[in-house]
Amino acid sequence: MFSFLRHFKEKLFNKKSSRIAGEIAFRSIFTRFRELLDNNNRALEIVTDMGEKLSGDYIFDKTYIINSYNELADTVYKVIYNLNMICSNKYIKLYDVFEDINAYLKALIEGKIYVLIEDLTILLDKLDESLTDVVGSKAARLGEIRNKLKYNTPNGFVITTAAYKRFLDYNELTEKITNFLSTWEKEGEKSTEKISKEIQSLFLKGELPPDLKSEIERAVNKVATHKNVFFAVRSSAVGEDSEHTFAGQFETELNVPSDELVNAYKKVLASLFSPRAIIYAKQKGYSPLEIPMAVLYVEMIPASVSGVIYTIDPTNPSANIMLINANWGLGKTVVEGSVSLDQFKVSRTYPYEIVEKRISTEKKMILAKPGGGLRETEAPSKSCLLKEQITELAEVALNIERYFKKPQDIEWSYDQQGNLYILQARPLMGVTGPAEISVGLSVLRNKYRVLLEKKGVIAQRGIGAGKVFVVKRDEDITNFPQGGVLVARKTSPRFGRIMYKVAAIVTDIGSPTGHMASLAREFRVPAIVDTGIATQVLKTGMGVTVDAEENVVYEGIVKELLNFYLFKETPFEETREYRLLKQILTRVSPLNLTDPSAPNFRPEGCKTFHDILRFAHEKAVAELIDIHMDKTIWENVPAKKLKTRIPIDLVIIDLGGGINPEANAKTSISPEEITSEPMLALWKGLSAPGVWRTEPVAVDFKAIMSSITASFQEISGSPKYLGVNLAVVSKEYLNLSLRLGYHFNMVDTYMTDNMLDNYIYFRFVGGVTEITRRTRRAQLLRKILERYDFRVITKGDLVVGRIREISKKDVQERLEKIGRLIGFTRQLDVMLKSDKAVDYYVEQFLSDKWQQH
């Protein structure tokens, strides 16, 4: 089909073909162009719509995601098709790029992403929650803590679920395991131990694929801070700690030397099939084979003190207390509860007072042995934590809780130098929260004063409470308190640095798609923007509760709401649907191709659907302009002469709606009969009194000599620029090609009510004088166009100015200016005797004095 069309177009554009062929071909291309614009707009609408859903303000389900994706993919495909129809399949490569992105998105939706992310290992530095299906929840969360919240974690890497699948395939384990499991089904629980042992030995005897082995070695070399590094090896199953409570079922190996890493890997995998694990899986109704297992390797921290902090006391959830269990040495003793420990109960409110402490006097600790393995030894009997360390722990733990929006169970260590490391964090299981959970908003209103209500726009949902801190100047942010409520007139790029400790945000100015909103979303901080009066109502030091769900700010700390959010709500960010939508959007909405002159502005440079749309739009416009460059198309096409007092010899070809229908039969029309909106705008400027200088400019001798001797090529840039002065118009489109004297000028523009469609392309080349003066005119044009926000490229005497995505009114105003500019510059190069003259005339034009010179 494509080759037929190409043939069709070539035939039509052939000079010798029928007289109206060019016009027909252009009409059909123009129709495609308009289709492309429509599809482009629809696609961008869908992208925006999907992005909005991430704020949490909408209820949507997987069906919504699937439908949106389907329509989007379909529309983007049509854009590519339209583009290739316009330009004889010049960008066929875009189809491949589309397919690559689309395959990824499809895999995401079908839940088969591990098929596509083939990395066998990924460094902890690169992890975030979007990779949960590839690296498991534990590793993904640790990645968030390290990379987003910027807390210390040990260096490390993950062996992915893709590697696990490779391991199973390489050793042909799936079938063998399935057989064992079905035997177990038949024989019942009496054979549990035996079957578990059989399956586990399959793992332990299994071989790692050679590339996986070398990948692990490479990862170890990358993360190891010194020779002789030891690792903690932990399971990180997909769904662990969230959908399923596998807690403690899978193996963790501590202080593993580098030559034992492969065995440790196999041991952790095998723990998927421990007796406990397979029974649990059976009770929950799934096969252990369905669980994708990743394994997290982190460097052992030579800990002096370790422990666990619960951000809520599980036995007394409403008590506003955190619980710290700690011991000297490695954390194993604390996790296993095998020896007596120090326990601290600490207030959840700054300055985190110690409410209760129990110091064990008979402590034993576990330390790492220099050659690997562990040893138990006596420990000092004094408190293992200092007051400052307790404060630091409390602060960090609350920030992590705020980020993950659930009470947390966090493992940590202090190294010999007193640096705090977070080893893992997960939601605290089995806490149901205080009984009186149902809130009743009307009840709250009686109890707490409402400071702001429905004043702004919710940028990120959630509830946050704390002391107000009004940031007036950027310098203020250095004093921003832990867990404060950030109140500001508007956003600042510097807020990013303190986001981790912000409880909520309220601003006077802002939009849900602005910078503040994306920061809030990234750090999951509840945010209300654009309230208009936040800085007047909320003063530094006031205790407030921001309910960025109902769009209300209360005076005081509303415990009912805070408890509600901590215990009741599954954070929206942890739902599968949110994660899926977010992952899809990573290949849909970012725009990488912003500069059409950059080397990556080509099909292969497109990383997202948005890139494809941007690329296609740019190239479609370029193609339209190119067609006009080829004047042979318009030879013998029936056109109408424009009757005007200006000596411009302009003919008009109407593609539809550009000329009053009553003038259809005429061979010449007057300007009043033009109905093309962009043409009217430009004509208004071009025909304004005083713009069109009719008296000949006094050409000095040097200029005349130059115009006589300059070769044809040099003057016009290219012979194909020579032709009539032609305007191809429709209701909303104009392409104007002017050959005035010895320069060539083209304006190509689209002007509708939809901002996304609109653009102006301005091109100017040539002139009557020698190159220096012509270059000066190029400089003059550049300076003027830039004042009107055009992006301008100049090359010698060539000037190309572009502007896009501006309102109809903005296009209109600019076209009028361009009309004036065309008249103004017509023979100006003759006068541009020095560089100073350039600035003089720029000012003349901008200050509207151009009539007088």
Partner: protein, 129 residues
């Protein structure tokens, strides 16, 4: 004002149930959720709910059947229909059969809340009469 009002939510997508439950509980309603329409139907036979929010298209029992069952059990029960894409014709059908209102997915929490508040006000008026 909202106290003592009971709502049954039925949608086969757990995320819809979970998020609506929390949002409505926060407003002070008593909320029960179901992803299985058969189980919801059984529950409707046992208990009078003030408001029922149900998806239209589901396996086994569809939203119209739920609407009919709820109205049969207690004519005062207000039923709000959630529809997916391109099912608004069926939703209009539901209105004819006595549904209080319908709302199309995806929707803002705010939109559903407003419908619920209107339904609550209607219930209150009926009680006052």
């Amino acid at each position: 004002m909202d106290e003592g009002i009971s709502i049954l939510i039925l949608d086969d997508e757990p995320i819809v149930c979970n998020r609506l439950k929390v949002a409505l509980q926060k407003m002070g309603y008593e909320v029960e959720t179901y992803t299985d329409s058969v189980a919801a139907l059984q529950r409707l036979e046992e208990k009078d709910f003030d408001i029922v929010v149900t998806d239209l298209k589901m396996e086994n029992v569809d939203g119209i059947q739920i609407l009919e069952a709820a109205k049969k059990k207690n004519p005062n029960t207000e039923v709000i229909i959630i529809t997916g894409f391109a099912t608004s014709e069926a939703a209009k059908e539901a209105l004819k059969k006595g549904a209080f209102d319908f709302i199309a997915k995806p929707f803002r929490l705010e939109d559903l809340r407003n419908v619920i508040i209107q339904a609550t006000e209607k219930l209150q008026k009926q009680k006052d009469v």
